[in-house]
């Protein structure tokens, strides 16, 4: 079993994480920036990385930038936004070939660093603002991106569940922002936001590949220098549920109903019972041997998919299933029964052992990809924790049945959302 040796160094304004490995034929650079989710900034913050990756001062058009990437043996550059708890995270990733595997031996890693620095720190400006043409184009794309959620019903119903369940909490904000706020963004105010973000965000750089740690440090400290800062931390407020289960049904022209149920786990990454929560989720709905899959799909034949997943920093669990419109009551009933069974300790030692083995396998597989590894390591940054992977796996293996029952009892149902068709009961 090989977990990861992560070497962390504080540099100017950010942390450098180096993970040397000979597994890959490429080297990966991932830059992450984190700030609290706010209604005021979320839409601008979602637009910013798109503008930065579309051109720069040196490569002043998309064609110029993308041609350069092609030349670097098809280096990839992409940006990505995510929510972790009530933080909004921008990621910039570059993956570049390791020249060791090419017939052309000219070194590429430094070029990858130079490109990352160019994208982050040398944007395409007109005076004291971003290039207006670029901003205009990316605003149009952003509106389409926000709108497209509606067209993917699985994603849409998940987004709607969160909106309903977390109404009034920052977590309800969508990762791509609000379409109504796009128009107000200007090349000037976006540039101001950019400057603020680079002054105050918490920033981390991950380098994964067959690299030399000292060389990487040198590249990073030469090319990426920012002001030191004390990043803003959130104090997670506990949400007390003092209401009935919130049941929301929405009608649209769909053939298959989408059932999404949201729960408050009251447990987050870093809590002592977080590992028990992971095992709980594995027995309840995380896998194809779990109670949800067996009972909703295999026994009742109601669905093709029925699963649960956790949000580790906000403390949520989401159940999702696609069912025939007429089977709503039966499906909800079966899902309730499975949670009840967990609370009553109605699961075998075999289910427990099996689930731990599958979780262990899943984690070890995830860290076989540079991106998966980065996501797992980044949990520590978000939660301000320091749990290494070996500890994670050991703690998970030590979870007992009693601890899982205790977790099951802490979990509270919050909202049932059902996207239903116009021909219900057909």
């Amino acid at each position: 079993m090989a977990t990861a040796a992560e070497k962390i160094t504080e540099l100017n304004g950010y942390r450098l994480h180096v993970i040397p490995t000979e597994k890959y034929k490429t080297n990966t650079l991932i830059w992450k920036m984190k700030a609290p989710l706010t209604k005021e900034d979320v839409t601008k913050r979602a637009l910013l990385p798109q503008v930065l990756q579309s051109s720069s001062a040196k490569y002043s058009s998309t064609t110029a930038l993308r041609s350069y990437l092609d030349e670097l043996y098809g280096a990839t550059l992409f940006v990505d936004l995510s929510k972790k708890g009530e933080y909004h995270i921008m990621s910039f990733s570059i993956e570049i070939a390791n020249e060791k595997f090419l017939s052309d031996p000219s070194p590429l890693l430094r070029k990858g660093f130079e490109l990352l620095a160019e994208i982050l720190t040398n944007p395409n400006l007109k005076g004291n603002a971003f290039d207006p043409g670029t901003v205009e184009k990316e605003k149009r794309t952003q509106k389409q991106r926000i709108q497209s959620v509606f067209d993917d019903k699985m994603r849409y119903s998940n987004v709607r569940l969160i909106q309903e369940m977390c109404k009034g909490e920052p977590y309800a904000l969508e990762v791509n922002g609000d379409a109504a706020d796009v128009d107000a963004i200007t090349p000037e105010n976006l540039f101001e936001y950019y400057q603020d973000a680079f002054l105050s965000d918490e920033m981390d750089l991950y380098i994964i590949g067959d690299v030399d740690e000292e060389e990487v440090k040198q590249f990073a400290s030469d090319l990426l220098k920012f002001e030191d800062r004390t990043p803003k931390k959130l104090v997670q407020e506990k949400v007390t549920l003092n209401r009935q289960v919130n049941e929301v049904k929405e009608q649209q022209d769909v053939k298959q109903g989408k059932l999404n149920i949201g729960y408050r786990t009251n447990i987050v990454y870093g809590d002592s019972d977080y590992f028990a929560l992971q095992v709980f989720n594995g027995i309840f709905g995380g896998f194809s041997h779990s109670k949800l899959f067996i009972n909703v799909r295999e026994k009742a034949s109601l669905a093709y998919y029925a699963a649960s997943r956790l949000e580790s920093h906000k403390g949520l669990m989401m159940v999702m299933s696609g069912i025939d419109l007429k089977n709503y009551d039966q499906a909800v009933g079966i899902i309730h029964d499975q949670l009840e069974a967990m609370r009553n300790g109605d699961f075998t030692d075999q289910e427990l052992v099996q689930t731990k083995a599958v979780i262990q396998n899943q984690i070890l597989e995830t860290i076989d990809t540079s991106r998966g590894l980065t996501e797992i390591l980044y949990h520590n940054v978000v939660a301000d924790a320091n749990i290494n992977l070996d500890t994670w796996l050991k703690e998970m293996q030590n979870v007992t049945k009693e601890e899982i029952i205790a977790v099951a009892k802490k979990i509270e149902i919050d909202t049932i959302y059902f996207l239903t068709g116009t021909e219900a009961g057909k």
Partner: protein, 430 residues
Amino acid sequence: MEKISFDQLQEELYHEKLANGLNVYILPKKGFNKTFATFTTKYGSVDNTFVPLGKEEYVKVPDGIAHFLEHKLFEKEDGDVFQQFSRQGASANAFTSFTRTAYLFSSTSDVEKNLETLIDFVQEPYFSEKTVEKEKGIIGQEITMYDDNADWRLYFGLIQNLYQNHPVKIDIAGTIESISHITKDWLYECYNTFYHPSNMLLFIVGPVNPESFMNQVKENQAKKEYKDMPEIQRKFENEPTEAAEKRQVLEMNVQTSKCLLGIKALHVDQSGNEMLKNELTMNVLLDLLFGKSSENYNQLYNDGLIDETFSFDYTQEQGFGFAMIGGDTGEPDKLAETLQKMLLDAKNQNVFNEDQLERAKRKKIGAFLRAVNSPEYIANQFTRYAFNDMNLFDVVPTLEKITLNDVQSLASEVISEDRFSVCQVIPKKK
């Protein structure tokens, strides 16, 4: 066991063809936790008319049966194989494509046991009327899920436009109506015909010792009795080279329109190096035309005709093939028209230069290196290549040899209005 070395990539591949005809490949990958194995039969949704093993007449089977069989193979008299894999700490899955059905697992422990489970469950079918009926509910929901998926409808709608007779136009999962005709006897008939080891390929990639794994597979196979298999007789009707329909518009519950332009492929009788070269040249051509560094892409993006969902892709298999270009758009008609014009311009004049070609080739070489970081990619793609008598590890050398002339002559040959077709999804009128 033969060892094949790829020096530039620093990989070594081990291969043996067993006595019963099964091809086994093992690629050791140091440093990885995971071992990934696929067990694949050259049997997919297009193989719907064939002579069943031991019979003489062609039969036509219900649409969706290859995929149905894939689901049902996981169920045994004493329970579900998913359960057994997860007891052994593995995660298992399967998929059915037009031409292949693959069963797979990945695990970081108990790899030998999981490999044994994979081989045995695929080679020991258990179908009963009762479990076949139960599966119809589950697959019915899978079909309904895809019915609501606009991208899937768009993709399949375009294939249906392009093809007149070829079964590639039939949805892989079939329809709720067609799967209602599936019985356990049909499943056994398909199984016996297509799941003979000589029609299959086993690929193992991970931190493994090739000798011991090869021995394990050999011992496993030696215990099972297989009669020599006559060559499988499949039948396909003649297919015209032109697109069957020029245009199809689907109204769905979406807010953004979608538009895909398709080109029906030529040379779909190729295999081996010829096919590899054709496929890669076509991919380079599409990248030159519509890649993010192309003028066309920039024009389309600046004019607001495309967004980040824009993509293009080329598929070529025995007997069918197509290129597809498009994505979400505010102006589906204008996008279709512009794409056709861009293609015809490239057909009629020399629009590319050496620098562009060199960049496109470098980009593809880098993409290949990235792809071979992934055990899943290696196993799945190697199998697809092998079923078409190509070698995945020939990709880079073949790419390096592509010339401007190759690209230009393919463009003038394959781009042709009568092989174009357009499929659009537009918001349903209230």
